[in-house]
Amino acid sequence: MDEILTNRVEDLRIKICSGKVKSKDIVKACFAHIKKIDSKIKAFLKLSEENSLNQALQSDDKIKAGAKCGFLEGVPIGIKDNIMVKGERMTSASKYLENYISPYDATVIEKLKAAGAIFVGRTNMDEFAMGGSTETSAYQKTANPWDIERIPGGSSGGSAAAVSAGMVPFALGSDTGGSIRQPASFCGVVGYKPSYGLISRYGACALASSFDQIGTFSKTVKDTALLTSIIAGKDYRDPVCEPKEWIDLHNIDDLDILRALKIGIPKQLLDYKTDVEITKHFNKAVNKLKLEGVKIVEIDVPAYRYVPALYKVIMCAEVSANIATFDGIRYGYRSPNGKSLNDEYAKSRAESLGYEVKKRILFGTYVLGAKNYYRCYHQAQRVRTLLINQITDAYKKCDFIFSPATLQMPVKFGETLSEECDIFLIAANLAGLPGITVPCSFTGLGVPMGVHFMGLRFSDAKLFQVANAFERISEFDVNKYPTL
């Protein structure tokens, strides 16, 4: 692959702005690399080559003329296919939205456009982000760049694979129950889900609104912080998006941070069957942190055991409400076989939605019904409170909670991950906390494994400092790219 693609965004943006590197060259290199390898990976659903090149030329002209550069002027980025870019098709990897053209920009897209970023294409995902392997996409299966017989994880598998294989330096994803951090960990890149309410979801396709957040993929924690600094911030169009205080995301270099840090490891980690290699590398990481002066404490969150079940109930309930908007009337697929209005709704949805989506809608509708509401939905919401209380208590003993990102390695296509695999990631969504996965090591499979740091709500800046410090001591080589 072209060496220009190994640039980190922090360097690339400066090189472009100073005219040392032409945006045109980096964009051309991206497309050449994508064309060469994406037939094997299938990370992208759609590419915007002509547009991207035109934009790159414009950026280069602007720079040559001495005009003021955007913060990400001329830097290419991949966008998950559930985030709207005005005038572009957005499918959410569903047949229902096969011909849907976004009528407006998502807030994050508006901000990235203002910063001068170039959208090279739309990345593959599980249909409406429902899945953890990117296999429920109605269009294609994405492969893990480190082992193309394995899943990249999901639901943002396309973004993870694209960044991992060097097709784009960074990408956007969305995370409802680990959908950024799990594929990031499987593909050996940094994956970040912000505190609930730090980044606007306006213009993103909703899955479960009390969990959904837009977040980022990049090779390094610094690039993650950089991208976050552009897209974060209050937005009246997403009522939950109101960061309490402005978070300075630019200065994340604090080499001393580990020395005074207390990190909690959940006792419950021992309750689960964890891949032996993951355990081995995780323990090595813990020892490394200790050597840096980190104080490791054991924390007790018994409610972790309820995480997958309570996520299932609340997520499906919210899905059933959110997906009700897809009725085949105002946009999207309409069945030609409907005999009445109701029949038309039912057939439009039946013919265009995949099995996983329909199953979740049905389960969600059922747990919200009068018979089950109190016993299932209401109960789950109370157990959610229990979990949040226990996690809040745990933070009295530590600054961050540390765990392996997943309990399993990425499986082969068609195989399933256990219900508990992403439990430590999902807890962050249930409690609205920020979480970041950082590559830790390569395992014997030749596939990377990652670790997860979770902080208190709106501690995102400090989370980056800690993750950045870990990245420096991690044995994972961020300069290594998969050979394809």
Binding site: Y100, I101, P103, Y196, G197, S210, P239, V240, E242, A303, R305, Y306, P308, A309, L310, K312, V313, C316, A324, G328, I329, R330, Y331, G332, Y333, R334, S340, L341, N342, D343, E344, Y345, A346, R349, A350, E351, L353, K358, K359, I361, L362, F363, T365, Y366, G369, C376, H378, Q379, A380, Q381, R382, V383, R384, T385, L386, I388, N389, E419, G432, R457
Partner: protein
């Protein structure tokens, strides 16, 4: 979940399910039900349910009608599977 309950739920969710698909849905959904039984385990009667992690409150604003440009109206209607003038076209709702 019983077969009749699946049928009612499918009607409520407006999803047409074919007879031959019902077995698989029932099997999978009942598996999910078995899995979530664990939520009955803890005593949470004293806890308030969490609907959101933010302290959401009502935001009031004046109800002002803003004009909408023809461009936006066209864009919105462009996505419609069927339309007439500036309206979405649907099947007859009231039967004669």
């Amino acid at each position: 979940m019983l077969k009749e309950e699946l049928e009612t739920t499918a009607f409520l969710a407006r999803i047409d399910i074919k007879e031959e698909e019902k077995r698989k849905y029932l099997e999978d959904i009942n598996k999910m039900f078995d899995y979530i039984k664990i939520l009955q385990e803890p005593d949470v009667t004293d806890l308030k349910p969490t609907t959101h992690v933010t302290e959401l409150r009502n935001v009031w604003r004046e109800d002002i009608v803003k004009p909408c440009s023809k461009e936006v109206i066209d864009q919105m209607l462009d996505g419609a599977p069927a339309k007439e003038g500036t309206f979405y076209k649907v099947q007859k709702v009231i039967e004669a």
